[in-house]
């Protein structure tokens, strides 16, 4: 049962590599923000799959925390890129 998890893990890792093309060459700021968000999403799934391959269930807690932190980071960067500042004073 370890072979399907290995194949899915290799597919997701190669998808992360392909997506970094848009992070390097995307014209403008916003394409790079989207590429960083997509890499963060795929990293959550990759953490869970690696947790199944090496048979340690603690990786799911790490994936949950990283999902929360990546969401907050995306919202903060989007708010900054829209206004030029974070809070109205």
């Amino acid at each position: 049962m370890i072979i399907p998890f290995l194949v899915v893990g290799i597919i997701i890792a190669s998808t992360i590599l392909v997506c970094s093309y848009r992070a390097i060459y995307g014209p403008g700021t916003f394409n790079r923000i989207v590429a960083a968000n997509v890499i963060g999403t795929k990293a959550i799934v990759l953490l869970i799959v690696v947790g199944y391959i090496i048979e340690r269930p603690e990786f799911i807690d790490i994936a949950l925390m990283y999902a929360v932190i990546a969401f907050i980071g995306t919202i903060i960067i989007a708010k900054y890129a829209e206004r030029g500042e974070l809070c109205l004073r």
Partner: protein, 195 residues
């Protein structure tokens, strides 16, 4: 979305700097409710280590959970404010079939994007605007999330006073299913009783 941070209704302390006061007894009720929810969440996440010990050690093991839940509930008790609106139970009971319809729409949306990536259907984007009759915060946020999960459309901006939505659509058929057919406005209006 900026409308979602006002879901608690009364006490917000965001970038605007204002804070309205709460009564003493509703503050105690909010702290107790938040503590119960946070402690139940901690027990669900960490309960699989409890089976290793004897049953009378339960209080000693969950002391960390009680401490953590107390700290979190004293810092963030302002979100669970009671007496939010009328007919809350009826709205929750009508919301569950709506969530089932939403999951089916996510699947249809992904099939639609697959066809556009592979080149079977054309890509012809446009921006549309329309008005609705929804006014409360929760209804506006639910409808905007549903537009994002429907095949071919993503919400750009909303105006809460007039209920106006600005939506980016990827072709002509998804745009027309929002403005001409109006299937989703009728469903959301049925759940929230068209406010």
């Amino acid at each position: 979305m900026l409308a979602a941070c006002r879901f608690g209704g009364r006490a917000t302390r965001g970038c605007d700097g204002e804070m309205t006061a709460m009564k003493k007894e509703s503050m105690a009720f909010s702290i107790a409710l938040t503590f119960c929810v946070m402690f139940a969440f901690w027990m669900l996440l960490s309960a699989w280590t409890v089976y290793l010990l004897e049953p009378y050690d339960l209080l000693k093991v969950s002391s960390r959970g009680i401490l953590a839940a107390l700290i979190v509930s004293f810092l963030t008790y302002e979100i669970f404010v009671p007496s939010r609106g009328e007919n809350v139970l009826l709205k929750i009971r009508r919301l569950i079939p709506y969530i089932g319809w939403e999951l089916w729409q996510i699947y249809l949306a992904t099939i639609d994007v697959t066809k556009r990536v592979l080149g079977i259907l054309p890509v012809d984007p446009r921006i549309i605007e329309f008005d609705t009759t929804l006014r409360s915060d929760f209804a506006l946020v639910t409808f905007a999330n549903s537009i994002t999960l429907t095949p071919g459309t993503i919400t750009i901006d909303i105006e809460p006073e007039k209920g106006r939505y600005i939506v980016h659509a990827i072709a002509k058929e998804p745009a027309e299913s929002l403005t001409v057919d109006q299937t989703m406005q009728k469903k959301v209006g049925h759940v929230f009783m068209e406010e």
